[in-house]
């Protein structure tokens, strides 16, 4: 029987099949390798991130040492003024911290956490995810809460490797977190939008203002975020609240992990 397909198409089809097999081979070999050795690979590659941090720090120090004397004097004056302005605030925060520690002690919980350095953060990761330099060896557990050193809760540990861990921030796109809207103590569900932002809804009648705080639903009631914008249309039964997370994911350098 005479075929209608020209020889050229048959060769192209055979070539496509060969390429399909090659791509499938790479896919499945990689899938096997990265599924079983992904954790070890992360640990093995972490020195590259560490050296990147040290190089960046070194470059920054060189830049700082090259700054002019006048610039340093003016910065010194500015920082002194800022310290004066913040003096009362520091005193009030210290009393809050003391009372919080007393409250935690009554529940038998320690305010101490395991400190860790952030190896990878956005924009190196396309998601709101951090890689930290503490892992199984330091006693990090999956689902441990992650805080900024100055207090706010920012996420949870989702994967633990030998020397490193992966932290997913509450602001990761698709992440849902239960929290308390401080004004009125309303329970809310925060939905991460990426880039250090949340979104959530409140009943139309609930009072909300820019700057209102959103707290963790845990007993310590740590800060999770702050309201940045409110959107409500005349026909909606709910108002949409846009909030910023406790810290800017692109500038987080150190964290504390609570067990």
């Amino acid at each position: 029987m005479k075929t209608n397909f020209p020889q050229r198409n048959r060769r192209a089809l055979a070539s496509f099949r060969g390429r399909l097999l090659y791509a499938a081979l790479i896919f499945f070999v990689s899938l096997f390798f990265f599924s079983y050795f992904g954790g070890r690979l992360v640990d093995a590659l972490s020195p590259i991130w560490k050296s990147d941090i040290y190089i960046n720090r070194g470059v920054k120090n060189i830049y700082l040492s090259l700054r002019t004397k006048d610039a340093l004097i003016s910065e010194n004056v500015r920082l002194k003024e800022e310290l004066e302005r913040n003096h009362d605030l520091i005193l009030s925060l210290r009393s809050i911290a003391t009372s919080r520690e007393a409250l935690l002690a009554t529940y038998g919980r320690s305010p101490e956490g395991i400190p860790a350095q952030v190896l990878v953060r956005p924009p190196k990761t396309p998601y709101d995810v951090l890689m930290i330099d503490a892992g199984e060896r330091e006693g990090i557990l999956v689902e441990s809460r992650v805080l900024l050193p100055d207090g706010p809760t920012i996420g949870t540990v989702v994967e633990v490797f030998s020397y490193t861990s992966r932290v997913r921030l509450f602001t990761t796109s698709g992440e849902r977190t239960d929290a308390i809207f401080e004004r009125g103590n309303i329970p809310v569900e925060l939905r991460g939008r990426g880039g250090g932002n949340f979104i959530f809804t409140l009943p139309r009648d609930a009072v909300a203002e820019v700057g209102d705080r959103i707290l963790s639903s845990y007993t310590d009631g740590r800060l999770i975020g702050v309201v940045g914008d409110i959107e409500v249309t005349s026909t909606d039964a709910f108002k949409t609240i846009y909030a910023k997370g406790g810290g800017n994911p692109t500038s987080i350098t150190d964290v504390l992990i609570l067990q």
Partner: protein, 85 residues
């Protein structure tokens, strides 16, 4: 050339922000003839920087899957485009 681009992509993935290494990887896929090695880079990005939001499901490796589809889709398409190196 191919090996050089593989090394370059690896260095970018390790050190550069995502808005540099992802476009570089996608451009490499378009420019290099049947760049199937990019699938392994997709896995590398997912393992190093993934959110682990869908861990254990089909979507655990979104970049690897995207690159697999892209690499295969480009085979019949690229013959009609003037993108080859």
């Amino acid at each position: 050339m191919r090996i050089l681009i593989i090394i370059l992509n690896f260095c970018l993935i390790m050190l550069a922000p995502w808005w540099i290494y992802l476009p570089a990887l996608f451009i490499s896929v378009f420019k290099i003839n049947f760049f199937a090695e990019s699938i392994a880079f997709g896995f590398l990005i997912d393992v190093l920087y993934g959110s682990a939001l869908y861990k254990g499901s089909f979507f655990s490796y979104p970049f690897a899957l995207t690159l697999l589809v892209l690499v295969l889709a480009l085979v019949p398409i690229k013959n009609h485009l003037r993108l080859n190196v």
